[in-house]
Subunit: 493 residues, 2 copies
């Protein structure tokens, strides 16, 4: 088969647009063919909408983007493409006719693939010229972000076609799943359709709303399914003896009316296939090891979802709001008057590098977080910033005196060395909480700016007066030795 | 109902251990009751195994951990607990007998909940004293990490019981899903069971292995299910007219043999329920808005999975390895001799703060990444560090001269100002790639250390000589104005 530099699309729509965005992003030219000329504008819009997310999928260096062209002439597309992907409506006769036609225009070493969700390749390739270069390559929406593509060959498909298609699809970032036998719905849509039909029954019978049924997945099994399928998850649920124990324990439930779908008979031969399959998946890893991996990704995914305030991430946010509130009340009751403002933190695993020590720039991160807390206390909050005013850090001099290990509780104190209309000069000290060891100092100059004018401007009187209170309270403290020194100067101890 | 300070567990096992770990972590005392005394050691082990992941779930301040005690006497547990959670084997008669017994020992204002996967509360509460305080509270494994808990009341359950249980379970970080009608399997397990039975059919008929079926989920729909359920996902797949269009387009597929599960008739009334349900879920957000949210979390989850080299994260890793290799070959061919070492990067969304400007400490992050690249080139790699030698940053003075916006390409150049046996003095400049504007400078002193002895030590001769080559090449360049100055000094321009 030939090297793919140009992808031809037979039909556009949501799936065709997704294929175009993915291929262009990874440096492949695309010729989109659609009988409706208005689809040119449509597909350009779809590609533009995909771009912001695609641009963040990987920060590895990319080849120059591919070029998009559009035609209403299927033949013009077929004569230029190195690989043709069909995305027309899910009607067998229509697909058969169009695939047969395009196969007459494309050279015999051009692979032709169908995006069909559930039609089988033997049916689709029936009337094609050179049907051995045909296969089903079924992607998932959004095609530009989800890596899965099911590859299914028909009775006349050559094995080399499957391998060449897998190579190209891997090149554009996909995971090629080779389906060993054609069945309606391939693999994924059979599983999705089973859930979907059960949902329709439950909504139909008034057992639950669509929203409740979605919640029943996204706060529980859905989090697990992001990286382990039902079989591996049940293998873990079985404890040390894995899938075999799980089948013994929950086998009887297969006879219970837990879904409208009847289960097959749980024969010895089926049990053996399930156990052998999951053992191959475990690949020698113990249940304990796999549990750790599962726990790691479950934690990490929930923290990611928190950023977007969605699903389990919203639950975590609400929990943390309550925890911060409870802790704030306790701290306010315990803080001595006149002390330097104190900011508490713990060294997170993602802040560490070789040796589990906190990475150098995270010291600056903690000083930044301490400044945020100080600003909030001085009245510089979201509302203040919406008025177009904020503080910028103009200079920062960090001296590293000790190491911090993952999980260690730390705290930062902040001494205000000086304030004027536009400038705030501070000195941070970072301590380990366990023994109050000084781990770093940070001297910083902050400038108050008018963001619209993009220049220095006086801070509000209210903020100034709150910072003055701190400066006055801290003036009695001696000037830190490390302040006012260039890099490399020896401190006088 | 009373405030819950002590959770009583009736039965331990994987689910009981998960409840214990979660409750203790959020400050609730736990009394675990099990007839088998050896389960005391077992549950302590289970709690210890849960701790590493739980400790990273949130970094918000936590109350002091709860205390665990164990007893083989159900009555002793029931008399001290404020809330009792039953986790014994899934046998109706056994559960009925044990729940009736424990209900005679526990005061009438103590809620009693069952972890049952699929038995119904009306059956379970039949023989209980004060059955109005009974409900099903069905959690998911691992209970200490997954927030979902299904709450189901029986014929005799008081509405106040459901609300009080929801309050306590929310307190320990869970998402309480109120199930409006009892059905075998509640909601979640009906959906899971439909997938599970379809999997068993496919393995039984030799269509696919357990591993292939797991892949068919984790590289595609599973990523979506982490934060949106099937209904919301299909609403998005329907384009601007959402679920209604989707049902019109894929309704006929409900008659196709895509699963062994027969679908219900797609009546007008069912269509209305599906459309109204998903419209309520969309809560006024447009398809476009929801697509952006979906794309955001799909990208973020894949980046998280990359860290653990699992599922779609492995696909992304393999892709990036190829991209870096391709780019490295291209760059080596294009780099001019004698230039300052250059490190390229793009401002990532998670590096920005208010206004989409890069946060102050990320300038230090980029200087750190530039140093890593320079060290790698000088032979300081993983193998070198395994020998117990590395460089520590001892001081860092950053001057901020301009802003960087999200998505902007930047680059760092690094000038070696001096090297001796143990010290490396460098000067970084951060530029915007589009116009070569200087955005920041960073003067740093690095110290070579013997990590075992925890003190400064000479670097290897090979590393020293590579750094000397750079120092000599850079000595001809003028000393940067900003070098050697304290914070607040004015540069001579």
């Amino acid at each position: 088969m030939r090297k793919v530099r140009t992808l031809g699309l037979l039909g556009t729509g949501v799936i065709g647009g997704g294929w175009a965005a993915r291929a262009l992003h990874f440096g492949i030219d695309v010729i989109a063919a659609d009988v409706k000329p208005e689809m040119e504008e449509w597909i350009r819009g779809a590609i533009a909408n995909a771009e912001p997310a695609l641009a963040r999928l990987t920060f590895a260096p990319l080849p120059p983007k591919g070029k998009l062209s559009f035609t209403t002439d299927m033949r013009a597309m077929a004569e230029k493409a190195d690989f043709i992907q069909e995305n027309i409506p899910e009607q067998l006769a229509l697909k058969q006719r169009m695939l047969a036609e395009v196969s007459r225009y494309a050279a015999a070493d051009v692979i032709i693939a169908s995006s069909t969700s559930g039609l089988t390749p033997t049916d689709l390739q029936r009337d094609m010229v050179a049907p051995e270069r045909f296969l089903v390559a079924h992607p998932f929406n959004p095609v530009y972000l989800l890596p899965l593509v099911e590859l299914v060959g028909g009775a006349k498909t050559a094995p080399a076609t499957i391998e060449a298609a897998a190579e190209f699809l891997t090149y554009i970032g996909m995971h090629a799943l080779r389906v060993r036998r054609e069945v309606p719905g391939h693999l994924t849509d059979r599983l999705q359709e089973a859930i979907w039909r059960e949902i329709l029954h439950m909504v139909n019978e008034g057992v639950a709303t669509t929203g409740e049924l979605d919640e029943s997945i996204i706060y529980g099994p859905g989090l697990r399914w992001a990286a382990m399928g039902t079989n591996m998850i049940y293998h873990l649920a079985g404890g040390e003896s894995g899938m075999r124990h799980m089948l013994a324990q929950f086998g009887p439930a297969l006879k219970w009316p837990w879904t409208k779908l009847e289960a097959p008979e749980l024969t010895e031969s089926l049990i053996d296939k399930m156990v052998e399959g999951t053992q191959a998946q475990a690949a020698g890893r113990s249940i304990r090891e796999l549990e750790r991996l599962r726990d790691d990704y479950l934690v990490a995914i929930q923290q990611v979802l928190r950023q977007y305030d969605i699903g389990a991430g919203s639950t975590l946010r609400a929990l943390e709001e309550r925890l911060y509130k409870d802790a704030g009340a306790a701290a306010a009751a315990a803080s001595p008057a006149g002390a330097l403002p104190r900011y508490d933190a713990v060294v997170r695993p993602e802040w560490t590098d070789y040796n589990n020590h906190m990475t150098d720039f995270r010291y600056g991160h903690l000083f930044g977080d301490a400044m945020d807390a100080l600003y909030r206390a001085a009245g510089v909050d979201a509302v203040y910033r919406q008025g177009g005013r904020m503080f910028y850090t103009v200079e920062s001099h960090v001296k590293h005196l000790g190491e911090a290990k993952v999980g260690e509780p730390l705290y930062v104190t902040t001494q205000v060395l000086g304030v004027d209309d536009k400038r705030l000069h501070v000195f941070h000290r970072l301590y380990r909480a366990a023994d109050d060891a000084l781990l770093a100092t940070g001297e910083q100059m902050h400038l108050h700016v008018d963001t619209a004018a993009a220049k220095a401007a006086p801070m509000s009187a209210a903020v100034r007066s709150r910072l003055d209170v701190l400066a006055k309270a801290h003036a009695g403290l001696s000037l830190p030795d490390a302040a006012g020194k260039p890099v490399g100067a020896r401190a006088k101890h």
